[in-house]
């Protein structure tokens, strides 16, 4: 069984090559076991369709998003300035990432510090690839007739106005897409953002991610589609809280596509 060799920017540069796009993996996608599956699924898609890409590998650092949102601008600036030095050193023009938090920071906050790139969320990137005929997905398949509900990640949706790309991808799976009552502009947060995932929540009646998982379960969907590693983690935990993990799966859009393509 052969394995995919994930190219790094360092290797490419050593060979005098430049990839079309840098895949920014992010900390969750690099270290968290659940989120690593999303990273691998996306890499399989890139590999399968012969897209020219590379990752920073060990040279990538946290974008600084959780530190900045927790109020620690010093740590944010330390990360951001080092990342920008790395990215600019390689002459990176285009970045794709499966993490909406990295996406938002790279796209909206790095330009102020001299890091100006075209930044796409992986759902936007895949949608572009499909629209330009660069990749073609199979018709129908394993998800035909399945009920899927999509949870909007705050940092892709409200923060950056992207509601359509993940839905357009899901529609290609031939599944039945059901919207939650709170979706799109009114989609409820999974509870992870603003560095919440790194601390206990404040006193209240219930956990945010439990409430959101309940909303998703309320649709009767078989699959809760996410497009953020943190949302995937939080909602999975909420499903477990209701002991529904056997019946309902939480999956990233990239994982669903990889599965539909039998990758």
């Amino acid at each position: 069984m052969s394995s995919i060799q994930v190219p790094t920017m360092a290797q490419m540069a050593a060979n005098g090559q430049t990839p079309d796009v840098l895949f920014w993996v992010g900390c969750a996608g690099s270290f968290d076991q659940r989120a690593q599956k999303i990273t691998k699924a996306f890499v399989k898609i890139l590999h399968h369709f012969g897209i020219s890409y590379a990752v920073l590998g060990g040279e990538e650092m946290c974008t600084g998003d959780p530190a900045r949102r927790a109020g620690n601008e010093m740590v944010f600036q330390m990360m951001a300035q080092q990342n920008i030095a790395t990215l600019n050193g390689y002459g990176v023009k285009k970045i794709v990432t499966a993490c909406p938090h990295c996406f938002n920071t790279l796209k909206n906050e790095y330009p102020d510090l001299g890091g100006v790139y075209e930044v796409l969320h992986h759902t936007q990137f895949l949608q572009q690839m499909i629209d330009t005929g660069r990749i073609q997905l199979r018709e129908g398949g394993v998800f035909k007739g399945k009920k899927i509900t999509f949870h909007d990640p705050c940092y892709l949706a409200r923060a950056n106005g992207e509601y359509q790309a993940p839905r357009a991808l899901l529609e290609r799976l031939d599944a039945e897409l059901i919207e939650m009552e709170n979706s799109r502009q009114r989609g409820m947060c999974c509870g992870a953002g603003g560095a919440q995932i790194f601390k206990e929540s404040e006193k209240g009646d219930m956990e945010v991610h439990h409430k959101r998982a309940d909303e998703a379960l309320g649709t009767g969907a078989h699959i809760i589609a996410a497009s953020c590693p943190f949302c995937t983690l939080m909602i999975t935990d909420g499903i477990k809280h209701r002991e529904k993990e056997a019946q309902v799966k939480v999956m990233d859009v990239a994982e669903l596509i990889a599965q539909a393509e039998d990758l």
Binding site: R69, R186, E202
Partner: protein, 449 residues
């Protein structure tokens, strides 16, 4: 007698307008307690368009059609009925009665009738709103921060509005009775569409009593309007004016997810990371404080936001922290900011600039617990009908809490040191960052076999 009432009218009218303009200047001064945030007057056509859509057009309100329609009735009624003020002021100053009636001829009754229909709409909407607040008890009107004055304020506004347009209708009804009785000074105008239905209430009442009722209501109506004009400036109802500048000066084209950069920290870190620069003597002095501790550390736009808030609570109703029972309420952030700006403004008036009461927005008004509960999801920002941004204030105060007061929760401090040392928020060794790429199998081998 006429002269006395003319003088009285002129006195009340100019006092009302004078006090109002004084309040407007004080509010402007309070807004400018905030820090420079640019003039926000670039691309004026885009700004006027934004104002037209969100303030004039109430675009976001229509996400909830029922309150939006009721709100529209009050709004249209309020603006158009006030055209009638032109005549009232002219009558009051000139000592005339219905000065426009002879000028407009038969059209006059139609104008007044049109205003009366609007007045009926206002009463209908205000009663529905009182019903929603006090009988249906819509959840967002009964959160913790609405106890006491905010709820009383909301009810008072509705009652005053009913009284103001109600007095207009009753005044006209009494007038119609006096007209049909041929009382001197009451020029025949033809019936007005709504008050002619009410006017039989006054049949059999003596002319002198009717005159007293009509004059009493006339004075009640105009003095009420002058009172309300001033009341509004102390009330959450100020949004009827502030919605316009607030949407005009609002952000254009900025992604909601973008946090404002801190150039002073950027420069410090750049210097720190430059091996030569680190020892340079040219390091800029550190800022007075990081982030926002009090209203004066916020931007003027943040304070303008606070004065534009009408406490509708749409932000709080969608806040994930609030929905799950946490203390944080974006509406309270805005109410506290406005209350604090008012306190600082009054202290400025009494003791001159520079006076400090030893209190701060952070700590005395807004607690650490509230600030820490925010997931920065932008739901509150998205929801606000007049484009208020509570998140911006929350994040500036978190910056103060964490950088200036070193009050981050222990878990956040661990996260910070992980990011700094392992380049990730978790305690994984940085050398494992690329370990995920070991052994990713290529497309299903069974399929290819």
């Amino acid at each position: 007698m006429h002269l006395v009432s003319q003088l009285l009218f002129a006195l009340f009218f100019s006092a009302g307008v004078y006090l109002f303009s004084k309040r407007v200047r004080a509010i402007r001064r309070n807004v400018l307690l905030g820090k420079d945030d640019g003039a926000r007057t670039d691309r004026p056509m885009r700004r006027f368009k934004q104002m037209a859509l969100f303030a004039l057009g109430q675009k976001k309100l229509f996400k909830r059609p029922v309150p939006a329609l009721l709100h529209l009735l009050i709004y249209v009624g309020f603006i158009l009925i006030n055209i009638e003020l032109i005549e009232i002021v002219a009558d009051g100053l000139l000592g005339k009665h219905r000065v426009l009636a002879p000028l407009l001829g038969p059209a006059y009754a139609y104008f007044i009738g049109f205003f009366e229909i609007l007045a009926l709409g206002v009463i209908l909407s205000c009663v529905s709103f009182l019903w929603r607040r006090n009988v249906v008890k819509v959840n967002r009107f009964h959160k913790r921060e609405m106890k006491g004055w905010p709820s009383l304020d909301a009810n008072l506004i509705l009652v005053i509005e009913i009284a103001l347009v109600g007095s207009f209708l009753l005044m006209n009804a009494a007038d119609l009775q006096l007209q049909s009785a041929g009382k001197e000074g009451y020029v025949p105008t033809g019936p007005f569409v709504v008050s002619s239905l009410v006017s039989p209430l006054f049949s059999g009442v003596s002319d002198s009593t009717l005159v007293a009722i009509e004059r009493g209501l006339w004075w009640f109506h105009i003095l009420g309007i002058l009172f309300f004009l001033n009341y509004v400036t102390y009330s959450k109802h100020l949004h009827i004016m502030m919605a316009f500048p607030n949407t005009f000066y609002g952000d254009l084209d900025t992604a909601a997810g973008k946090m404002k950069n801190m150039p002073e920290v950027q420069a410090e870190v750049a210097l720190m990371m430059d091996p030569e620069g680190a020892f340079s003597a040219n390091a800029a002095p550190p800022p007075e404080r990081f982030g926002a501790q009090d209203v004066g550390d916020l931007s003027w736009k943040n304070i303008l936001d606070a004065y534009s808030c009408t406490e509708c609570g749409r932000c709080t109703a969608v806040c994930p922290a609030n929905k799950t029972g946490k203390l944080l309420s974006p509406r309270k952030i805005m109410m506290d900011t406005r209350d604090r700006a008012e306190v600082l403004g009054r202290a400025h008036d009494r003791h001159g600039p520079g006076h400090h009461d030893g209190k701060h927005l952070l700590g005395n008004y807004i607690s650490q617990e509230e600030l820490l509960a925010c997931t920065t999801c932008n739901a509150c920002v998205e929801e606000c009908p007049v484009n208020i941004n509570p998140l911006d204030i929350i994040l500036q105060m978190r910056r103060h809490l964490v950088m200036d007061q070193a009050q981050a929760p222990a878990e956040w401090n661990s996260m910070f040191s992980n990011v700094e040392n392992n380049m990730a928020p978790w305690a994984f060794p940085a050398s494992d960052r690329f370990a995920w790429a070991n052994n990713i199998p290529t497309a299903n081998q069974n399929k290819n076999a």
